[in-house]
Symmetry: C2
Subunit: 512 residues, 2 copies
């Protein structure tokens, strides 16, 4: 299939426009890294950290709260149980995982051209997750609504650099907690045809997500993974019923779980990077082993989310050196374990899409790619430690994601890349603009940013002296204005809506 | 010597204050990388690029303009000369360099505590270089003056993360071109005690720089390198008389030269990264070999400055993927050659210290460190493709340099770093804030940013809803207000001023 055909089929004027705007960059369903991951820690240090994680699991163990059936599963597999405390012999969780967890898997999307490979040298960018607030330059910071949610689904759908529609891109707080998972899953299906995540706030909401996905994908999902959902540990060393119940539903149905210890170093873990890494590995091993016990072969992703802390206020900090150190090290441990890895994103503590936001985001995103991360949640939009998603931030981050896609291709060492013909036809002191090699390569030579202003100072002043956030403000509005929904079969749409109406009628309205 | 003694001797209330502000971070004279450099290109590709550089030197050669003595030097060494075109047999320049150029050297500073090691796993941060304009939030963009120049020398002196005073941190356009080199060198000596760079705009100005340094350092410099100066090729494949004459003065006097092809890909080189790299190597080999022919053993740094180009306007672009690819690849070639490497910095095209500036700067600085760069010019302050230096940008960049110093230490795998005692004393579900391990490590656990706001949204609003640039505006003013000059012997100061007065009387006033 030619590239042109791909675009025609992948649908819509919006997709074609997005493609034209990034002329030269082929639209790819996910990022493929042709460069090696950066190995920050030595083999000896990695082996030591695995040993320490095993020591934690053997001597301290984890608490399994309010979920006796999980304790039973672990006991049956050979774990030592003392009330709610479960301890594991050295290597036990690793053996369970390595016996059945896939090294990589495909998450199917409504549009097969948007199927993503998760694992190996593939990296999938998904948008921000979980923010109760939304920010834009016009209205400042406010609670997010379902309209904001749908806007970000649309913006993700239109970006050639976002590969996955994500999950709770923001919390639609105008809809009852008990029901909003239905509207969120429906919005992903209706307004995008990229892969998405299911609800994890209760086992029955995970089941609703599976049921809606069955309708959208036309039947049983046993042979297809169509959701990758986010299961967090209650660090330190606790797994709770909500998360385990959701993980169980997904694993039973062959759907993928990202098993992520969410750690603010110093509070939920020791202050040191090596301590955070060992704990992350220990907690994640337990969660991934649980999924394999539920259904051997269910896709799991080893997740890590670690921030450092302000020593003045105890607030989480982002884009600092310590989380990058953790990220590189845990990524290497995931490779040794043999499962896909999730971490990073475009994280920051800033309240605005300003220089702080950008320094911090780049200082997270670059290690994310260099570490060889496979699934990147929060890759666009994140502000304020995750409390807000920003419209302008989203647009600016997407541009950086595009740069990563180019960077990850590495150096072109083909004859054309070597450009020796250009030297042969060009005398010293003459510029290369007119050489045949330059003319043949100029259009596709460089990544073309859609948010940077590279004009002269005088031209920039004439254009209104806009900073990056002001330019991004215009861009997200233009994009939403030109959005066209991907096709969705009317019968499927109707069935989805019927399911949702029925469930909403059954569920009470609860907030918070 | 204890750390406290170091600080007492290194002088001044300002230095002590700067240290207190970064509690926990020991003040180090330069960054020491305990992490390995990232190898982006394979050995095969690197060998191919060396082969291509040799092909360029053998078949096309370089033009040596208006400097017959340099042609004679190359001819005597075995090069093939055809008018001003000089061609080199394969491996010739490499052999000359490897026979005598030091793998690393020490640049001595007025204050021996500020001596820097250049090469190996050391990285030295120097400020911005060469901008005719200056920018700050209060006054916007305007021509730079000697007062601005001195302000940036002071700010560099006060920063614990800037290791070197740099050279033309900005162009003091209020002083005649023919004389400003005297005021610049004097300002570095008077207002700082860190290492500095000499003038390269004419051979006689290089000689003035050497003469002033002789006064400042009390005698002959044959046994001490006290300046590292910037020698640029006139790409493509031209070396001109101004730069060669300056390089000759410095090499004759055992002073270091950074030999840097300055390349806008697509104009001064082919569009492709592999083409830029081969040309950079070819041009730099010639310049470094020249220095070794002038004086075997004179310190040289292999420099690379490469930007990509806007396909719309031809303007240089920064922080894009292609320059990072070039940077990693040339750094590896410098290691293979066996000389120190200079590249990178905090480069951007933005006119303001906004999100664009920060994304682009981080996307340059992180590869700079990960590539194992030894000398980093433009590490703080750069705006607008180098046309301006920004006060706020300087402060924000310095904070990022501090983060790099922490990151480059890698993961702490000591017993304390492993933190197993913290796990032993802390039950699952309990936070670690009160553990003995946390209390022992908390103060020094995390890099402490002086520009990031990590407070709650509400607190941030109460503090005036400032973005990063506004906070940086306050910081540079506070720092300049608290500046205290390092000690300078009165007799030396007088001799410097006499030399400058005599030279100024001899020189005509020329501008531009």
């Amino acid at each position: 299939m030619t590239d042109t055909e791909r675009h025609r089929k992948s649908g819509g004027r919006a997709a074609r426009q997005a493609t034209r705007k990034t002329a030269g960059a082929q639209r790819e369903a996910y990022l493929t890294r042709l460069i090696a991951p950066y190995e920050l820690a030595s083999e000896e240090v990695l082996a030591m950290l695995e040993h320490n994680a095993d020591t934690i699991l053997e001597e301290i163990g984890v608490e399994i709260r309010d979920y006796p059936s999980a304790i039973e599963r672990f006991k049956a597999a050979g774990a030592s149980v003392d009330g709610t405390r479960v301890r594991f012999a050295r290597g036990m969780c690793r053996s369970i995982i390595q016996a059945s967890a896939p090294r990589e898997y495909v998450q199917h999307a409504r549009n097969p051209l948007n199927n993503v490979r998760i694992g190996g040298n593939a990296t999938v960018f998904a948008p921000n997750y979980g923010s109760p607030f939304v920010h834009d330059l016009d209205n400042g910071r406010r609670y997010a609504t379902i309209t904001d949610f749908q806007n970000f689904v649309k913006l993700s759908y239109m970006s050639p650099y976002i590969h996955h529609s994500g999950g709770t891109v923001c919390e639609p707080v105008d809809i009852p907690v008990s029901k909003r998972h239905l509207d969120m899953v429906y919005s992903h299906i209706k307004y995008s045809d990229k892969g998405f995540m299911g609800s994890v706030t209760a086992g029955e909401r995970a089941q609703d997500s599976v049921n809606l996905a069955r309708i959208a994908f036309g039947g049983d999902l046993a042979d297809r993974t169509v959701m990758t959902s986010l299961i967090n540990a209650s660090s330190p060393l606790v797994w709770d019923a909500t998360m385990l119940a959701s993980a169980e539903v997904y694993a039973e149905n062959n759907q993928a779980c990202i098993i992520t210890p969410f750690i603010l170093a110093g509070a939920m873990a020791p202050t040191t990077s090596a301590g955070v890494v060992a704990q992350t590995l220990a907690e994640s091993l337990v969660g991934m082993a649980f999924c394999q016990l539920v259904r051997p072969g269910a896709p799991v992703i080893f997740g890590s989310f670690a921030s450092s802390m302000s020593m003045l206020t105890g607030a989480p900090t982002f884009g600092t050196p310590e989380p990058a150190t953790v990220l590189y090290t845990v990524a290497a441990l995931a490779r040794r374990l043999g499962v896909p890895f999730r971490s990073g994103g475009s994280l920051c503590a800033s309240k605005l899409p300003d220089a702080q936001a950008a320094y911090e985001s780049a200082s997270t995103l670059i290690p994310t790619i260099m570490a060889g991360t496979n699934f990147v949640l929060h890759s666009a939009g994140w502000l304020e430690g995750g409390l807000a998603i920003g419209y302008e931030k989203f647009v600016l981050d997407c541009d950086q994601l595009g740069m990563m896609m180019t960077f990850a291709r590495g150096i072109d060492a083909t004859d054309n890349g070597q450009a020796m013909s250009a030297f042969q036809e060009n005398d010293p002191g003459q510029h290369f603009l007119g050489t045949a090699h330059t003319l043949a390569n100029f259009e596709t030579a460089f990544y073309r940013s859609d948010t940077a202003d590279n004009n002269s100072y005088e031209q920039w002043v004439e254009d209104g002296s806009q900073d990056a956030a002001m330019r991004a403000n215009r861009l997200w509005k233009e994009r939403l204005a030109s959005y066209e929904a991907p096709a969705l079969d009317d019968a499927i749409d109707e069935e989805l809506q019927e399911y949702i109406a029925k469930r909403k009628a059954e569920l009470p309205d609860t907030f918070g």
